[in-house]
Amino acid sequence: MKINEAARAGKLKINWSFAVPCIVLAMLIIAMGILKPATLSLYFLGIKCDISVSLVFVAAGQTLVLISEGIDLSVGGVMSIATCIMATMSEISLVGAILLCLVIGLAVGCINGLLISKLKMQPLITTLSTWTVLGGCALWILKTDGGYIPPAFTNFLIHRVGGIPVTLLFIIAVLIMWFFLKNTAFGYSVYAIGSNERAAYFNGIHITKTKIKIFCISGVCAALGGIMYAGINATGSPTVGESNIMMSIAAAVIGGTSLTGGRGGVTGTVVGVFILKLISDILVFAGITSYYTSLCQGLLLIICVAIGSVSTLLKNRRRLEYD
């Protein structure tokens, strides 16, 4: 085998599906800076982190599920119910309410995982059902937005440690956890299952156990998302989860995670979350009415996905000649 020079020069590998969202985010930040220089400050970063942190948690769990070629719609239900529990019970015991939320997230994930891996049910339908059930329960606990959250908890979450927002620390913690998780045996198994479940099974990977773990993590992440939301906004909401379902999937996909499994990661997802959250700001600063926000978010989703797949197409042109 001979090495030819031109090819070696081109060997620098760029992961386009991750690079593209980073570039988009950078462009958004620059555009914001131009429109309103005040946004390039620690203060503004803090505000952004505060409104993003709950979605970061939900989307991180979702990403894991997507990598394993699943999808988790129940995150919406778990998140809603968590905010409701926080709003009604944290007055009695904050720690108790938080633990209850986490246990519910874990239990829902466990049920999802069992149904999907043992009964071979479709993830979409299974989690759609659990979402519906949980959504109903949330409305039963709390009829409308409101409730009571101990101010101490809210103040803790929006606190700045020497100027650094606590919520940013949480986001960094998610990234660090992901970095470790990705390099564990479990992390490899998740990617393997998403790429080719049959081969993963032949390689001795416990499909059932791994899937249950994946959905449990997603459930707990969604519960954490709900806890954060309730804490930061000092309110419970029986319907807040719903918009977070699509947002969590969108953030993951914008960040380079593939819906067909086997590719992606939480780092990209965090970038995706910030992109989604910044778009609405940009539109406001540019003087465009907020009606256009979801329109623009949708367009951006298409653009990001298209850029991602076109660049992989170009990169893999040779390989795709097989098809």
Binding site: M1, K2, I3, N4, A7, R8, G10, K11, F180, N183, T184, A185, F186, Y188, S189, Y191, A192, S195, N196, R198, A199, A200, Y201, F202, N203, G204, I205, H206, G262, R263, R318, R319, E321, Y322
Partner: protein, 500 residues
């Protein structure tokens, strides 16, 4: 000039130069073999001739006309039909749908007539003498060997004038290999051109007229097959002489049983199979295709559930899934590397690591140093030819993929090794290396259950050969009894022993 003339074709993949100014020519009416080591560039050449890939440089002419295919469709339109190395049937469609994909028989309206499809398929099967495949069955229900047959029929049904067979015999059993070779000869007699790639020298030599040898992406010689001996061919291919194909070995099996199977039964697939695999033994498994060999292996690997008992070292074990089997030191090399063994879109490194994840991790965290060392050793042991271990498995040549498959299971140091046709698509040099490895595993006190579609492998390295017929063990041959003739006889249910 009639036939194919390929001049100075080059093709690179990133840093790898797969073809380097290759010249090649073949004529109508001949069976032309292409030989070469794994990664020599045979499949790449084939893919260029059939429009799947485009050459970077060079020209191809067919019957004096220059060709430049942009897609496989154009090649098909020019009468070039190719059976590719990796099977490409659509697993969820039926056999008939696969065969007639994109050239459905004419019927009224736009709706495809299922009955007509079935009839046409049956007609084809009749014409080409295939009895054991139902056209309405889904392709994923077929054995690998049957899938390969369907693939061949699919290509031939379009009546191409040039037929390219890229390792089409590697997944076929002996009787089917004969069928294919006879068919190829008949087609060549009708003035068709056949390009034939195989790593089995024997069948190549018996059936082909001329051979072109590739080495490291270059053409190193064209020979007429009955004027050249095996030694010369091998040294053309690998650039040196090969000592002995099969290793010298002494039977080392102890009387102590390692793995015992007692009346294993899977409804319709396996019927009351009982046998003992001894410590230090290589037990061959023979028979025609589909006589229960694959289900037996899958049951022993915990992939399919069978009733009956499995004992390991005298202890009863329960295998609910492949994970259980691996924990007990039982390892299977699956039959179909592309769907069962390897994850094509993941890196070579991670593929090698997958089955041994639990060995190299503590509290879930991988021990980098240890695992990297094991990966390096694995790559060196079978000389896997690749760019970097971070490349995807799908960028490897077929034979090198097979090496990855075997290496990753070797990393587990299993006690019982279940090998389903492990040498499929592997070149002579590496095969020989693998036989040595199998014997060495046995010498070290492990045991190997060895299934092969190549009879000479069974006679070459097995202590005993268990021949399966009609989903159960028909006979077990020992010592002097292990000959090709006896295996073939037992395969069709004839007793090899003189009855009193």
């Amino acid at each position: 000039m009639s036939g194919f003339v390929v001049k100075k074709i080059s093709k690179s993949f990133g840093a790898v130069k797969a073809l380097d100014e290759v010249n090649f020519s073949a004529e109508h009416g001949e069976i032309h073999a292409i030989l070469g080591e794994n990664g020599a560039g045979k499949s790449t050449l084939i893919k260029i001739l059939s429009g799947v890939q485009q050459a970077d440089e060079g020209t191809i002419t067919l019957n004096g006309k220059e060709l430049r295919f942009k897609s496989p469709k154009e090649a098909l339109a020019c009468g070039i039909g190719t059976v590719f190395q990796e099977l490409s049937l659509m697993q969820d469609l039926t056999v008939a749908q696969n065969i007639f994909f994109e050239h459905y028989p004419k019927s009224k309206g736009i709706i495809i007539d299922k009955k007509l499809l079935r009839e046409k398929a049956l007609e084809l099967f009749q014409k080409y003498d295939i009895m054991d495949i139902d056209p309405d069955i889904r392709t994923n229900q077929l054995s690998l060997s049957q899938q390969q047959m369907v693939e061949i029929i699919k290509v031939i049904s379009r009546e191409p004038s040039i037929i390219i067979l890229d390792e089409a015999t590697s997944a076929l059993t002996q009787n089917r290999v004969h069928w294919l070779l006879d068919l190829a000869r008949k087609l060549a007699d009708k003035n068709k051109m056949i390009l034939f790639i195989s790593h089995r020298l024997q069948e190549t030599r018996q059936n082909c007229d001329r051979v072109t040898v590739l080495r490291n992406g270059r053409d190193v010689g064209v020979r007429t097959l009955n004027e050249v001996d095996n030694d010369e061919l091998v040294s053309l291919m690998i650039g040196r002489k090969l000592s002995a194909y099969f290793p010298e070995w002494k039977p080392m099996a102890s009387e102590q049983p390692q793995l015992e199977a007692k009346s294993l039964t899977i409804d319709k697939y396996l019927n009351n199979v009982t046998f003992t695999l001894r410590k230090g033994e290589v037990l061959g498994v023979g028979g025609l295709a589909g006589q229960g060999q694959v289900p037996l292996f899958l049951a022993l690997a915990g992939i399919r559930h069978a009733t009956g008992e499995i004992m390991l070292d005298g202890r009863k074990i329960v295998l609910r899934n492949p994970g259980d089997a691996l924990e007990n030191g039982i390892t299977l090399i699956p039959e179909d590397r592309s769907t069962e063994g390897l994850i094509q879109t993941m890196s070579i490194r991670i593929n090698l690591l997958l089955p041994s994840l639990s060995i190299f991790s503590k509290w879930g965290f991988l021990n980098r140093k240890q695992s990297e060392r094991a990966i390096e050793e694995a790559i060196e042991r079978l000389e896997i030819k690749m760019g970097s271990s971070d490349d995807m498995v799908m960028s490897l040549s077929g034979g090198n993929q097979q090496k990855v498959l075997i290496s990753k299971y070797l990393m587990l140091n299993p006690k019982v090794f279940l090998m389903l046709d492990p040498t499929r698509g592997v070149d002579v040099g590496t095969k020989s290396e693998m036989f040595r490895l199998v014997r060495k595993l046995a010498e070290e006190g492990n045991s190997v259950l060895f299934y092969s579609t190549d009879l000479s492998e069974l006679t070459g390295i097995c202590d005993r050969v268990m021949v399966m017929y009609d989903n159960s063990v028909f006979d077990t041959l020992v010592g002097e009894e292990i000959t090709k003739e006896n295996i073939l006889k037992a395969s069709v249910g004839e007793s090899i022993r003189i009855t009193q």
